[in-house]
Symmetry: C2
Subunit: 143 residues, 2 copies
DNA sequence: TTTTATTCTATTAGATAAATAGATTTAATC
DNA sequence: GATTAAATCTATTTATCTAATAGAATAAAA
């Protein structure tokens, strides 16, 4: 399951990407929170994390607010989810951003759990890293 | 990430499936715990949950222990993971075993997060529900 | 009736999730 | 320069979940 943090973060950045097109300058946390029904204080924390990773850009003071930190087609859903919820991998021995040998594991090469979860991880990463914010906003995702 | 519970559960049931072939009768928790390096008391809880769902069978008293509750080719990895870790779905509005409308969601049909996560969920479910314990034991999983 | 094993009841320490409160800093505008 | 609008920083809180442990009860075989 996605945490609320990741879900709120995705909602917020998708909204930002949509508004960006209208060229109305930065969007305030208050507006984002109201429109997406997200607790304002919690959203602050989430946006700040995304800004620190360069995915968002902020402007202080009056007339300030948040905007995308880079073009929507350079931001993938995978980046956002990893940033807010940690590794996509089901077992740490499969994670690229946080590799860690499993304690109980005797041999990674023959571990059946690892083999199955590698398939899951690869397909998940392919989807999430292959979908950009731009795709989401354009409604390019079909099912 | 898989919880330790799910990981221990998978380790244990894979071990049981392998031992089953040798026709030596039920395996004791103590043996399982020792062989797979799992805290014994924690493993008790896990095995009991699996037994209550019919995936395992237990025999009380001396000479007792655990064995598979049905043939290894009738037990999928998906069943085990759902049983121990809950729904595979990233958002509750996609779960079959625990559907629940998202609080903030205005329209499921047009929700971009849902569309992306549906792809992830479908591919994950296809892999995990399409792999049986028997496949795992036979080393049929290739990558 | 002793031994071996699962099962049940209860509890706990620690981590994480989700949120809230209040003070501070920065910058535009009046 | 004062006011206002905004993000930022520090801190705290509550609830829930994870992982594990302890001990008594029950069941069955030898």
């Amino acid at each position: 399951m996605l945490s609320k943090k990741a879900k709120y973060g995705l909602q917020a950045i998708i909204y930002l990407a949509k508004e960006e097109k209208k060229n109305k300058g930065p969007i305030q946390i208050a507006e984002l929170a109201k429109h997406e029904k997200i607790p304002k204080k919690f959203l602050e924390i989430i946006l700040l994390e995304m800004r620190k990773q360069g995915i968002l850009h902020s402007k202080l003071g009056a007339g300030g607010g948040y905007s995308l930190g880079k073009p929507a087609d350079k931001i993938t859903i995978g980046q956002i989810v990893r940033l807010l919820d940690g590794p996509l991998a089901q077992v740490s021995c499969l994670s690229k951003i946080a590799y860690h040998k499993c304690d109980e594991c005797k041999d990674e090469k023959t571990c059946e759990i690892r083999k199955i979860m590698k398939k899951v991880h690869d397909s998940t990463a392919r989807i999430l890293d292959g979908t950009t914010l731009s795709d989401a906003v354009k409604g390019k995702i079909n099912f």
